[in-house]
């Protein structure tokens, strides 16, 4: 089911030597990202985790060409990120569902297909199968306001997958949902990932969520935004509610948490570690 013809031998996403500097209002400069190197292979599920201000969302937006790097390169499917965007190689899900009030559920899902110019019958089929995928086909004719927050976010996932993208970018998609809904949707995203074979890059604040979903967890620290460590998650698939009770799951959660606190990071830059720790203490990571 994955986007055909794009299984290039190299990584799907290749971030090389990327720096991102923001000019602040007072004329200052913030290093949002410093020296980022990251390769993401086909069919991987990679989470970016870190405290507020570590640049994880910025990194996601760089991959999606919603912003461009100050220096360095972002290559997606072997081409510049911009070309990948114009080729509609990826779908995106934000923290807010960003559904259009004036469109029904099915019309919202159809939006990217309309933009691409997919013919009507094919479009309808595609919308139907996407709504089946997120188990919302009974709600096709509803308006967004008639749905719960979790259902709205599922519509937005269906929309992001409508064009069969090879990469799905998700920016804290479940950050605004309650814990129960979040866990249910985590299971659902795992299923969708396995069914579609889409590469997923997933930004989150939640350690359990990152561990449960990912094949790799990229731990980042703020000021300047850096990759501290990449942790492989070797939990067997499919992961279920039982996975959440295994010893290995807890070990991995502890590992991610301690990396976030900077305990295991052998670094000469004490300041960066201290600042990461302070941010944790402020409860920025939930």
């Amino acid at each position: 089911m994955s986007a055909g013809g794009q299984q290039s031998p190299g990584p799907v996403v290749q971030v090389a030597g990327v720096n991102k500097v923001f000019e602040t209002a007072g004329g200052g400069r913030t290093n949002a990202l410093e020296n980022i190197d990251l390769a993401i292979g086909a069919d991987e599920f990679v989470s970016l985790i870190g405290p507020s201000g570590c640049g994880k969302s910025t990194l996601l937006r760089l991959i999606g060409d919603l912003t461009s790097p100050t220096s360095g390169t972002v290559t997606v499917n072997g081409k510049p990120a911009r070309q990948a965007r114009l080729d509609r190689d990826y779908g995106i899900v934000f923290q807010a569902p960003v559904l259009f009030d004036w469109r029904t559920v099915q019309a919202n899902v159809a939006l990217p297909l309309e933009v691409k110019g997919t013919p009507g019958t094919e479009r309808d089929q595609r919308v139907r199968s996407m709504l089946e995928l997120v188990e919302l086909k009974d709600f096709a004719r509803h308006y967004p306001y008639q749905l719960s927050g979790g259902m709205q976010q599922r519509v937005s996932i269906a929309r992001a997958l409508a064009l069969e993208p090879s990469i799905l970018l998700m920016d804290e998609p479940f950050g605004a949902l309650d814990e129960m809904t979040r866990e249910r949707l985590n299971a659902e995203v795992q299923r969708i990932w396995q069914e579609t074979g889409t590469t997923i890059v997933f930004v989150t604040h939640s350690i359990p969520e990152a561990v449960f979903l990912s094949s790799r967890v990229v731990v980042m620290s703020p000021r300047p935004g850096r990759i501290v460590r990449i942790i492989d998650v070797d939990l067997p698939r499919p992961r279920t509610d039982d996975t959440r009770e295994t010893a290995r799951y807890f070990e991995l959660i502890t590992e991610v948490r301690e990396t976030l606190r900077g305990r295991r990071v052998a670094t000469s830059d004490g300041a960066a570690v201290a600042s990461a720790e302070r941010t944790m203490a402020e409860g920025a990571v939930g």
């Binding site: 509609r88 995106i92 960003v98 009030d101 933009v115 004719r141 509803h142 306001y145």
Partner: protein, 276 residues
């Protein structure tokens, strides 16, 4: 209808029941309105007020019927000025709003002036318009209406076209949407509620503009002149009747705008609140 519909508050319900519910919803307003009329009628008698101070509602109703020929002709002429000005002014305001939201340079040049101009008591320019277009030319009154409605329309629609959620634009960007597609699929639907907010204000404004512009002279078969002339003859029953027909015209225009709004943007939060 799908199985899921029953569980949720659907937008479609029995229209007959809805009408009854709406009328019932208006009941307090109707009761107050009728009470005011009764108190007015009885109070004028009890206080022995002269009819040139405050005529009874019954006297106004009598004048309304007796002067119907004059009033309906005047109302028709005034509505022609108001509606003509409204259509031209709204169209011009919307077109300018598109230009303003499309080109930053135009926005920087036009918006401050528009916001300033909307604070100017434009009605004061009525004698100038009569001078330019001729005192008997209905367009002299339309011009005032155009000026009155142009700026609120421009500001409202420009706001609706440009104040789009940034993530909605990013979503379109991620789908590699063209600028035209963003306009059609995001900006215009987003601007519709703003357009109707502006339009509802402008229906009322257009009538005020036309009637007040008429005070400054011109054809006598218009509501503004009927009001001025009847009051100078101390026939305040006719004045009140003319005010009543002006009010009714304004309410009808407003309600038409409201009905169109409901039909066009049933998905908008303001409409959902109105429904429940």
């Amino acid at each position: 209808m799908t199985a899921g519909t029953a569980e949720l508050a659907g937008p479609r319900r029995d229209p007959g029941a809805r009408l009854i519910r709406q009328v019932r919803g208006q009941a307090p307003a109707i009761v107050v309105f009728v009470s005011v009329l009764v108190v007015w009628e009885v109070g004028v008698g009890a206080l022995a007020l002269q009819s040139f101070i405050l005529p009874r509602p019954s006297a106004i109703a009598t004048a309304f019927v007796a002067e119907w020929q004059t009033l309906q002709l005047a109302a028709r002429n005034t509505l022609y000025e108001a509606l003509g000005g409204l259509v031209i002014g709204v169209t011009a305001g919307v077109l300018t709003a598109f230009a303003v939201s499309r080109w930053a340079r135009v926005r920087e040049a036009v918006l401050p002036i528009a916001i300033g101009a909307s604070a100017v008591p434009i009605i004061a320019a009525a004698p100038i318009m009569s001078n330019w277009f001729g005192i008997l030319n209905p367009f002299a009154k339309m011009a005032i209406v155009i000026l009155l409605v142009y700026f609120p329309m421009l500001i409202n629609v420009a706001r609706g076209l440009s104040q789009v959620e940034p993530s909605a634009l990013e979503l379109m960007q991620a789908s590699a949407a063209s600028e035209g597609q963003v306009l059609r699929k995001v900006r215009i639907p987003n601007a519709l509620p703003y357009f109707f907010t502006g339009l509802k204000v402008c229906t009322t404004l257009s009538l005020i503009g036309a009637v007040v512009a008429e005070y400054f002279g011109g054809s006598s078969d218009v509501l503004g002149r009927v009001i001025v002339q009847s009051s100078s003859r101390l026939r305040f029953d006719i004045t009140w009747a003319a005010i009543a027909i002006t009010a009714i015209s304004g309410i009808v225009m407003y309600v038409v705008a409201l009905v169109v709004e409901r039909a066009v943007i049933p998905w908008h939060a303001s409409q959902r609140a109105a429904e429940s």
